[in-house]
């Protein structure tokens, strides 16, 4: 079965080509279902391979097939093909699975769009590229997919090209990604030639792994850093995240598929795929973790200041990606991939839910004009609720398991640091806050929508709600693949990925803790040395801490957005203590409001303006403008007068002759 790995990207490619060629001939329904079928088949294939793998011993779970041999330069030739192992399989299943649901959803969502067929063609193209990226067996394949997803996401973001904002957003995404790709490409070159200088001409992951020891420390740090620059671009990390919020201009399914579930995670996948290199590059890992946690925190603060529900989700995506980078940055690759997967579920769900809300509110995006929708669109409401709980990291939901594993690793792993843990945990609380701010704002209180909208608020059709339900199920169940040992789980996920990502030794993590940098962690670790019990206690405590932070975040949100509207009793029962405290001291509301809302909203707003728009966009647009200006200046030399051209030639000739004749003298 594994020999058929190449089928996985092939199906969407076929769908793309077929619909692209004959789409105009056949009906809308046919186009959409062909597209869905193509993706579904990829999903089936990957699942089949997955079950085949379960039969095999762990170390036998890798298979490569070379499609053709690609010449890098002159005599050096590189076999290109596909590689299936635990990692690429997880990615393939996640991508194709989520993509399939979103395809189905789009049938309903895009129904009345004139570009219906084009949409599915481009979706298939994207899925094809994404699957190529995750199943490729060499950096070249990865780069092809990398560029491919960039291109197709550019098409999809700009899907409603009639809106200038849309096509500009598309362009912005493309250009910013090119900057990242530039780093990525340089990294590939550097790796290729440093290995080549040792006589190993290869870009194949397996062979790179074999000969990685040939590289010296600085070189690896440089190479891995260049790769990370690429990841910054694709996965929207500081400072290259600016394109992602704008990318919300695209249709909501696109935001859901590309900017939540799949493409933006490519960077994480790449680092996980090259984990053997990163493990040899402590400096880079520190950079990765730091950038990751900063992004997570920074994006969360901005999330406070947003009213546009898709913008909120966009910034939360950036923030969650930050988490994944923290994970891979501290060497907890499987945790990163785990969070990647769960995030794909609940964030995909959140976006589709947002789409469903827009559908109900006839395209409205401003949460200030919503509210009280929970009765009117129950399915969306419940699924959205589940997603929020998941992203907030409430025990029992997938987000909890993945996020807490990351937090624990951030604390305990030798690459980790107490500061990272603190920021990450704080971010977890903030995430919970703004997600529920959104949730309450949309579904509770009384409806602030204009009358005409209010009338035809309606639940979305089955074709949209069913995917929501499935994703909701996954958003809960997905987590149980990776129940940490401390909770009596076996962390199957970690073990499944172990052959590729190392890890698979949950207990060992604590042993590393002694190597943690800060006083605190080592203090903890000393207790941890006591043995499994102490380590478990530590892990439990941290877990509790983060859960409490999340709950605090939620309750604040609730206090500010629900309390005055009188909330469901069971919700009160959830936090009786906290409720009493807050209720008895009424002005605490204002206090919270002042501290959290005004303060942080201002901060977020300021950050948004100064950093986001001011500095980063300034740089990006500035360079473009500068070049344009120079170009305009250079044009003036093309005067159109033939003799001035001749004069230019004479000057050139004088320079050339002068240089060549006199250079030897110096």
């Amino acid at each position: 079965m594994a020999d058929y790995i190449w089928l996985i990207p092939l199906f969407p490619a076929v769908g793309f080509i077929f619909n692209g060629l004959f789409g105009t001939k056949i009906s809308k329904g046919a186009v959409s279902w062909i597209a869905c079928l193509a993706v579904f088949l990829s999903f089936l294939t990957s699942v089949a391979i997955f079950f085949e793998f379960l039969q095999l011993p762990a170390d036998a779970r890798v298979f490569e097939i070379n499609v053709y041999s690609w010449i890098a330069s002159g005599e050096v030739s590189i076999p290109l093909g596909f590689r299936v192992d635990a990692l690429s399989l997880v990615m393939a299943m996640t991508v194709s699975g989520v993509a399939f649901l979103i395809h189905v959803y789009s049938i309903g969502y895009m129904e009345h769009d004139p570009g219906f067929k084009r949409f599915f063609v481009e979706l298939n193209l994207f899925v094809f590229m994404m699957l190529t990226l995750v199943t490729g067996n060499s950096l070249i394949m990865m780069f092809v997919g990398w560029e491919g997803v960039g291109l197709s996401s550019y098409l999809l973001i700009g899907f409603w090209y009639q809106k200038d904002s849309a096509s500009d957003a598309g362009k912005k995404a493309f250009i910013v990604n090119r900057i990242g790709d530039f780093g990525f490409l340089l990294g590939i070159f550097l790796l290729f030639f440093t290995l080549g200088s040792h006589g190993v001409w290869t870009l194949n992951f397996g062979e790179i792994h074999k000969s990685a020891h040939l590289l010296n420390g600085n070189m690896i740090n440089l190479i891995t850093f260049l790769f990370f620059v690429g990841a910054m671009g694709k996965s929207a990390q500081i400072p290259l995240y600016v394109w992602l919020p704008d990318a919300m201009e695209g249709p909501t399914p696109v935001s859901s598929l590309i900017h939540a579930a799949t493409m933006v995670t490519a960077g994480v996948y790449m680092i996980a795929r090259l984990n053997f290199l990163y493990s040899m590059a402590p400096t880079t890992m520190m950079v990765v973790a730091t950038i990751g946690v900063l992004t997570a925190f920074f994006a969360a603060t901005i999330g406070f200041a947003q009213y546009d529900i898709k913008k909120v989700l966009a910034y939360s995506t950036i923030s969650q990606l930050g988490y994944m980078f923290v994970a891979v940055g501290v060497g907890a690759y499987s945790a990163g991939i785990f969070h990647l997967m769960t995030h794909a579920f609940f964030k995909g769900l959140l976006f589709l839910g947002a789409g469903s809300i827009m559908h109900a509110m006839s395209g409205e995006l401003d949460m200030r004009l919503m509210g009280g929708l929970r009765k009117k669109i129950p399915v969306t409401y419940w699924t959205f609720f589940i997603a929020c709980l998941a992203i907030a990291g409430i025990p029992g939901f997938s987000g909890f398991f993945s996020k807490d594993e990351i937090l624990w690793k951030a604390f305990s792993s030798p690459h980790g640091h107490i500061m990272i843990w603190m920021l990450a945990a704080l971010t977890a609380g903030m995430t919970a806050f703004y997600m529920f701010r959104l949730f309450f704002g949309v579904f509770y209180g009384d409806c602030r929508a204009p009358e005409d909208v209010k009338h035809h608020i309606h639940e979305s059709p089955k074709v949209m709600t069913v995917p929501l339900m499935i994703l909701a199920f996954l958003a809960i169940a997905g987590g149980y693949l990776g129940i940490p040992h401390v909770l009596g789980g076996a962390n199957l996920f970690d073990q499944f990925l172990a052959p590729v990502l190392g890890g698979g030794h949950g207990h060992a993590a604590a042993a590393h803790a002694s190597a943690g940098f800060s006083m605190v962690s080592s203090a903890w670790a000393s207790t941890a040395e006591a043995g499994h019990g102490g380590e478990a206690a530590l892990e439990m405590t941290l877990m509790a801490a983060s859960v409490v932070t999340a709950l605090i975040g939620i309750s604040i949100a609730w206090l500010m957005y629900v309390k005055n509207t009188g909330m469901p009793g069971k919700f009160v029962a959830a936090f009786p203590g906290l409720f009493k405290v807050v209720n008895n001291k009424y002005y605490v509301d204002e206090f919270y409001d002042f501290v959290f809302v005004r303060g942080i909203m201002k901060a977020g707003g300021v950050l948004l303006k100064v950093v986001d728009i001011g500095i980063i966009e300034g740089i990006i647009n500035g360079v473009g403008a500068l070049l344009q200006w120079i170009g305009g200046g250079l044009r003036k030399f093309e005067t159109g007068f033939v003799q001035q051209y001749a004069f230019g030639m004479i000057l050139g000739a004088i320079i050339v002759v002068g240089y060549i004749v006199f250079a030897p003298l110096f």
Partner: protein
């Protein structure tokens, strides 16, 4: 004494002879055709001639031999470029059929001059002697001086012709002076004799000799449209008939680079240190200036002119590295470049009308909506030029940058990559207009003909093929450039 001219030599130059004969026949047919009788025979001449010549050219593959007292040589390098220029001739001819009616240019003269131009290229790329190189160069150039101005009534065309002619003659003078100086210091015109002489101990480099080399660079720099000898390019490319622009941008550039490469790598390779940094500067200047100036162009034809300058810069990178074993890159890049350029200009042609070329970028707005196929192929060519995998352009750039890095020219590689980022912007701009803008002015149905369709189809296929399966042609390029080792 009896001068020996072995008759058998003529067996090797059948392609050239064929070109000459067919060109002459085309001319005569035009003269003696009845009023309003068919043009078919005249129009068939270039295709038939090219195919015949192509056939005989391939016959000479691997027949490494010097003929006519070493004035002329048959080697795979020459064969490669002869083949390339003949294929270019075929494609350009296909493009021209409808276009010529539209702009009513003189058919017979047009086709026979095309063939004479190709003849010039063929001579130029397969000669080892400055005399024959010069003759080939001039046969090519003079044909094109005329072709550029063939749209008699059109002021721009005349202007293009004038500019190209004056500056071309001017550049020729520099080239000749360079040759003269080299002859003056070595007393030889055969580049391999020169190579042998300079490698033998008893040659000492004089400033005169180096000045000669420098002037050669100037002369070839003009024909290859490298900065700072590029200034004619935008005007001439814009003014000339579009089919001829395509011909100039591909055929002339390829032939000039071929001769340049041969001269540099044969006669002057010992002085690598002398010219490599000069070419480094030229390469950087050419890439950067071409790309940056292209940013501000609103006329697609002119934008393509600047982009062709930029591409010359990329090729110069490969020359700069000056590694004999890597010279195949130049061949491969020129191959790729020719197809995507011709394709792009073909699209420009079919969007034109009589009297209104519609080359302004605004005429491309919303093209995807009205003519999805045309927009798609144009997008393919543009993306290929921008160097986006898996299209051929990416491969070309990749090999060039690879060479640079292997040669240790890291900065050159970085500048090259940065340039391709800049380039992506203005290619993308056209794509944006085609896909993401509403049509401003109705430009009417495209002027598609079987010929142009065929040409475009061929180019698209090749662009994909060379991008995905570069192996075969890379190997061919490799064997072709083996003569330098």
């Amino acid at each position: 004494m009896v001068v020996q001219i072995p008759e058998m030599d003529f067996g090797w130059i059948v392609p050239e002879i064929a070109m000459t004969v067919f060109a002459a026949v085309a001319l005569l047919l035009t003269l003696f055709r009845k009023k309003n009788s068919t043009w078919l025979f005249v129009e068939a001449m270039p295709l038939v001639g090219a195919i015949v010549a192509l056939y005989f050219t391939f016959q000479t593959w691997n027949g490494n031999i010097d003929i006519f007292n070493n004035l002329y040589t048959i080697d795979n390098f020459g064969v490669f470029f002869k083949g390339l220029s003949l294929v270019i001739l075929i494609l350009v001819t296909l493009l021209s059929y409808r276009y010529i009616d539209r702009e009513d240019m003189a058919r017979g003269e047009y086709y026979s001059l095309l063939m004479f131009g190709t003849l010039g290229m063929m001579i130029m790329v397969s000669s080892n002697n400055f005399i024959t190189i010069f003759i080939g160069l001039e046969v090519m150039s003079i044909s094109i001086y005329i072709l550029a101005g063939l749209m008699g009534g059109n002021a721009k065309s005349v202007e293009a012709s004038l500019k190209y002619f004056l500056l071309g003659a001017f550049a020729t003078a520099f080239l000749l002076y360079g040759i003269a100086l080299i002859y003056g210091t070595t007393g030889m015109l055969d580049i391999r004799e020169i190579a042998g002489y300079v490698n033998s101990g008893n040659f000492m480099v004089t400033p005169t000799f180096m000045a000669g080399l420098a002037l050669l660079i100037v002369g070839f720099g003009f024909k290859t449209a490298s900065v700072p000898f590029h200034m004619w390019t935008p005007d001439v490319y814009e003014g000339a008939p579009t089919s001829i622009t395509a011909y100039m941008a591909t055929g002339v550039k390829a032939a000039a680079f071929a001769a340049f490469l041969r001269v540099l790598f044969t006669a002057f390779h010992p002085f690598l240190s002398g010219w490599t940094y000069m070419l480094w500067i030229l390469a950087v200047a050419t890439m950067t200036l071409g790309n940056i100036t292209a940013l501000k162009q609103d006329d697609v034809k002119r934008m393509l002119a600047y982009s062709s300058i930029a591409h010359a810069g990329y090729i110069l990178i490969a020359l700069t590295v000056g590694d004999r074993t890597l010279s195949s890159t130049v061949l491969y890049y020129l191959l790729v470049y020719s197809f995507m350029t011709i394709g792009a200009f073909a699209v420009v042609i079919i969007l034109g009308r009589q009297g209104s070329p519609n080359t302004g970028i605004e005429s491309y707005a919303g093209l995807a909506g009205r003519h999805p196929v045309i927009a798609a192929v144009m997008a393919v060519f543009l993306f290929s030029m921008a160097g986006i995998p898996p299209l051929a352009g990416f491969m070309g750039k990749f090999y060039v940058l690879t060479d640079a890095i292997r040669g240790g020219y890291y900065w050159l590689a970085i500048i090259g990559v940065l340039n391709s980022v800049v380039a992506a912007y203005y290619y993308l701009r056209v794509v944006m207009y085609m896909y993401f803008k509403e049509p401003e002015a109705e430009i009417g149905a495209p002027d598609v003909s079987i010929g142009s369709t065929l040409a475009i189809a061929i180019s698209v296929v090749v662009v994909f093929y060379l991008g995905i399966f570069p192996r075969l042609f890379l190997m061919i390029a490799h064997t072709s450039s083996a003569i330098f080792m």
